[in-house]
């Protein structure tokens, strides 16, 4: 049997989230003695890169009905691929793409869906899958009661192991229904590093006093190779764009490094960032609650500390990492 992985492509290139999803499936396949089949849609120039992360086979569909993003039709295509491959487990990444398709597919197949998985199923135990709940404040161990399973994996939760398999690439298609969504326009942010994909994030809050003071935050982010983010009040006051708002009602992120400058650490903010691997807090108030959730802290004025950090980062040449 095979484990099927939906592999997203952006600008004709396999997205790094797809490598993560395939590697997850390959690590699971090692335990269950299954093979890994990836499915990609549209023009893709590097489908063979999926072999590096463990795909034995890549099904490539160029169905024109999928030129605009149609979650329902992609779910139909994946369902047909699962039947053709005899796949009982289908893997997504729990990002904006996976969140659109996985629930549609799972309902179509009558398969249980575990979304936001942070680990492999416990194959040697009860088969349950660990997932984040309560906005990262807890985990649940979820058992799927149906023969077919859909798993959407939280980004950056498992090591991206390499397997270096030679993947065979086959074209694949299925009879799809009508395309009902018509995309008129895509407006891409100018940033090269979307927040949800960044391994390092520098974030700032009201402590910065005004939007004109973000220069040093951007500079520090640049030196560290990090994305920038902000707290909710900052986004509400339009000091920074909405898409930078991290927290309970904004974006939830789990980077390797989260540096919070002038953010006190309200529980709603923590909910969006508390799964970061290392948290650094810089705040003038030694009683700021954020220090309780931090790994490293500096009590000090951001306007003095951040420029010094930028200087130090420059002399260490960190942006190459």
């Amino acid at each position: 049997m095979s484990i099927l992985v939906y592999s997203n492509a952006v600008n004709n290139k396999i997205h790094k989230s797809a490598h993560e999803a395939v590697s997850y499936a390959a690590q699971l396949a090692e335990k269950t003695s299954d093979s890994v089949t990836a499915i990609v849609v549209g023009e893709v120039s590097d489908a063979d890169s999926l072999g590096k992360f463990g795909a034995n086979k890549v099904l490539h569909s160029k169905n024109e009905k999928l030129n605009d993003f149609q979650p329902s039709l992609i779910a139909q295509l994946i369902q047909a691929a699962a039947e053709a491959e005899g796949a009982k487990t289908i893997v997504f990444i729990h990002d904006l793409v996976g969140k659109s398709i996985a629930p549609v597919l799972s309902a179509r197949m009558g398969a249980g869906l575990v979304s936001g998985a942070v680990d492999l199923p416990k194959i040697d135990g009860d088969g349950s899958i660990k997932k984040a709940v309560f906005s990262g404040k807890a985990y649940a161990h979820v058992k799927v009661n149906t023969a077919a399973k859909v798993i959407s994996v939280m980004p950056n939760s498992l090591e991206k192991k390499e397997f270096n398999v030679d993947a065979t690439i086959e074209s694949f298609d299925a009879d799809l229904g009508d395309a009902k969504i018509s995309v008129k326009e895509q407006k891409m942010e100018s940033t090269d590093l979307p927040l949800t994909e960044a391994e390092k994030v520098v974030s700032a809050g009201r402590g910065l006093k005004g939007p004109e003071n973000w220069g040093m935050i951007e500079e520090l982010a640049k030196e560290l190779g990090a994305a920038t983010a902000c707290s909710r009040p900052v986004s509400d006051m339009d000091w920074r764009p909405h898409h930078e708002h991290v927290g309970q009602t904004g974006v939830a992120i789990r980077p390797n490094l989260y540096i919070a400058v002038g953010i006190s650490g309200a529980i709603q903010h923590l909910a969006g960032v508390n799964q970061s691997k290392v948290i650094v807090v810089i705040n003038t108030d030694p009683e700021a609650p954020f220090f309780k959730s931090a790994d490293y802290g500096i009590v000090g004025d951001a306007f003095e500390v951040v420029p010094k950090l930028v200087e130090a980062a420059k002399s260490m040449n960190l942006s190459d990492n």
């Binding site: 952006v10 605009d68 329902s72 904006l96 793409v97 969140k99 659109s100 629930p103 549609v104 309902a107 398969a111 249980g112 869906l113 979304s115 009860d126 709940v133 309560f134 404040k137 807890a138 985990y139 649940a140 161990h141 979820v142 058992k143 009661n145 009902k180 969504i181 018509s182 995309v183 407006k187 942010e189 940033t191 994909e197 390092k200 560290l224 909405h242 898409h243 309970q248 009602t249 939830a252 490094l257 709603q268 290392v278 650094v280 807090v281 220090f291 309780k292 931090a294 790994d295 490293y296 802290g297 500096i298 009590v299 003095e304 010094k308 950090l309 130090a312 980062a313 260490m316 960190l318």
Partner: protein, 246 residues
Amino acid sequence: MKILVCISKVPDTTAKIAFTDNNTAFDTNGVSFIINPYDEWYALVRGLEIKEAQGGSVTVLNVGEADNDPTIRKALAIGADDAVRININPKDAQQAAKQIAHYASENGFDMVLCGKETIDYNGSQVAGMVAAFLDQPFISNAIKLDMDGNTAKIERDIQGGKEVLEVNTPFVLSAAKGMAEARIPNMRGIMAARTKPLNVVEPTAFDDTTEVLSYELPPAKGDCKMVSADNPAELLELLRNEAKII
């Protein structure tokens, strides 16, 4: 427009998260419950704005037991015309979605609006499943919704940007920040909510597809290591040599 808004009851955002019964159940002791913020602030309020502009009705639907009624009344106070509660405590998202889809298909709505996720299970599952069961298009993480006749003009978040799209009714949408501004119910709304219809519908028998075996809390963070503000460079040294992440 005949609009159905699905609302879920969740613990307040500041609630202490703890578990009971050998870590198999959420500890509701001392916890106050609210309407899931994405359902309330974005899906419900935008639904009301569309109704106010174009006429029609907004029905709120909750899948749950009688202790959810005060939460449902709040949605009526904010302005929904009527409410439906499907009388079952759902075991998982798919079971809830089947109940919703069953009700929606029997009663016919132009659109079904949900929040993009609940803040308790963070599944982002129900809306997409309802769309699949109804065989209607699904638009996730929408941040703008405008109607032009039967055509919806929608803006949604995509990776690294936004997408503008059009779709005809009927459709199912999940709403994210940006769709609307939260409304606080006024006294007139609260009084009116007492007499608005809250219909209790018995569930249809559907199996659950997943179950939670147990919960756990993340390990407590160790002490925060403090670095002097006079020498921030030391922080970068620690991040490089101790945490090994830069």
